[in-house]
């Protein structure tokens, strides 16, 4: 895994795990690897993983059973909310980036439409 070193690594790992949940690569209620195992696999500091686990739990994405481990939420509703939040983040970044380039909203929509048409052809 290559990280973008210009953004906090724990946030990138959180997003990675959230994406896996949204895409169904990880099932609801499934047990996560331990933070140490994650740290080893991703080659990051164990403290970074502890932070990831704490933050995921605080956001309600995961929950901990004492002495058993950390599990993915069982709520489908939560996954839907997560999906919306992540999509909104992407859209917000897109709009911000386009505004920095001097695009107005109509130009943006036009550009997206023409891009989507091209994708559809391929």
């Amino acid at each position: 895994m290559n990280f973008d070193n210009t953004a906090p690594i724990y946030i990138q790992i959180m997003n990675l795990i959230k994406k896996d949940i949204i895409l169904g690569k990880m099932n609801l209620g499934e047990k996560l690897l331990s933070s140490r195992e994650y740290a080893q696999n991703l080659k990051v500091n164990p403290n970074t993983m502890v932070r990831v686990f704490n933050e995921l739990e605080r956001e309600g994405v995961t929950f901990t059973k004492r002495g058993v481990g950390t599990f993915i939420t069982e709520s489908e509703e939560k996954v839907e909310i997560m999906k919306k939040e992540m999509a909104e983040d992407i859209v917000r970044n897109f709009i911000q980036g386009m505004m920095e380039l001097g695009f107005n909203f109509n130009d943006m929509i036009e550009l997206i439409k023409s891009r989507l048409d091209k994708e559809a052809v391929q």
Binding site: N5, I9, K43, N47
Partner: protein
Amino acid sequence: MTSVLIAENVSKGFFRNKALHNLDLKIEEGKVYGLLGPNGSGKTTFFKIAAGLFKPTSGRMTVMGYPIGAETKKLTAFMPTDDFLFGWMKIDGILSFYTDMYEDFDRNKALEYLTFMELQENMKVSSLSTGMKARLKLAVTMARKARLYLLDEPLNGIDPISREKIVKMIMGAFRDDCAVIISSHLVSELETILDEVIFLDHGTVVLAGDAEKFRLEKSCSIEALYKEVYHG
């Protein structure tokens, strides 16, 4: 949180040169620190004082509450940049040497690390390549159960594969009851493993703090921050 090392107002002069100048630093348990700065910023001098090899000209330094001395040397594992292992020894000889020298040396751990580093006990030290020597140095240093690890430029002059192994091994050996300080100017290799960064310049701390916090607040990598700090 327990402080492993505390430096208060530490200065060290070599004749007219000031290598360290009123340095204040607190190193806490359970964290990996990056001691960053260009050549001549005082990184090695700091390590040598912490390891008990130099006496500071003024100021105070303690490890686990003890003033630097025989007691702290037991708690501190220092890996210098020099090629300090005896060339005429075989690796198993080095292991016996470490077993005799350090109470906290764990031979089984060392063997485990050697396997990971793809080194064999019957290899002669003088026949090892630069990368292999660097791996060996690190393996025997981390096989001590110290409270403070001081790694001076573990990545300098090392090929990418050895660098990756070295970074992986440091992370594998890291425990909650110790602190690791890694000095380097190869910042990008360390990005993912540092909890805290300390920038030294002309023997004093110019900037220090949580690596993730810097990324969040400045939206830049530690490497970019490094360039910002030293380009002025």
